[in-house]
Symmetry: C2
């Protein structure tokens, strides 16, 4: 019995994930010098407005230390501001600065284009098939559980642990 790596699902996903990420990262890396962890935190902040670091870790599926370092870099760029939470001083409420918001507004259309182009190149049939397959997999493998990378969960239903 023999296994063909190129046909093995986890391997195919890893390879495609790398390829798509490399493609997408062109925009935020070359234009704004962002790394992938930084882009993820930034994208969440731009979309949601105000978040804590733990929430960012949760929604980005990144470990809290990775988030901590990404936020540090974004802070250095003066793209975000932290304010202590009045009710719970362990928390930092994080928002984009004017400067950060401006960058977000310039970057997001570029990233939208990346996505649109992928789907356009696929064509409607393949795109629909892909969406269906991904959604089904997500429902099985990471929705809503399996966020082991994200450190502590800020939501009610706790992480299942390793």
């Amino acid at each position: 019995m023999s296994l063909i790596l190129e046909e093995f699902l986890p391997y195919r996903f890893n390879r495609l994930a790398e390829a798509l990420s490399r493609n997408a990262s062109q925009a935020y890396r070359s234009e704004y010098g962002l790394t992938r962890p930084e882009w993820r935190a930034f994208a969440l902040l731009g979309h949601k407005g105000m978040m804590t670091a733990t929430e960012i870790a949760y929604f980005s599926t990144m470990h809290k230390t990775k988030v901590s370092r990404a936020l540090f870099k974004l802070e250095q760029k003066r793209w975000l501001r932290r304010t202590a939470d009045e009710n719970d001083r362990r928390l930092e409420q994080i928002t984009l600065t004017e400067r950060g918001r401006a960058a977000y507004d310039r970057l997001v259309p570029m990233m939208m284009t990346v996505e649109t182009e992928i789907l356009a190149k696929l064509g409607p049939k393949n795109a629909a098939a892909l969406q269906q397959g991904l959604a089904a997999l997500e429902a099985l493998y990471l929705d809503p559980a399996d966020r082991r990378n994200a450190g502590e969960s800020p939501l009610a239903w706790q992480d299942a642990g390793e």
Copy 2:
């Protein structure tokens, strides 16, 4: 304008790739103490029989230094043997040892089961949709180009570079 990270294709792929890999790695990690790079090189060797390190890098889409270190570990386990190529002494022809072959024969069925279970849980419709979507993406984004991680290409059509 706002971008929802959870719906962004590169992010979805990264998340699923991580989840599927974690799922699959259970078998080779807990049973045989293999890392992912080691598993990939091992799987290729088991399937193809005899390869050079460069070929392994090519087919596994891993950088040649990563392959070099993975092969070192597999050699320590006495799972593979290297023999100098007669015609070109830069090359090492690598094959599994008896011991390595035995491990392969025990491990592959486990990995096949992993794959089969994923597809079974998806059901025939979703599985077919997924396969179609993945194949289309692969044709666009990594077949046959986009092997930038693999170091030098051992085949005729050269790497496009960064």
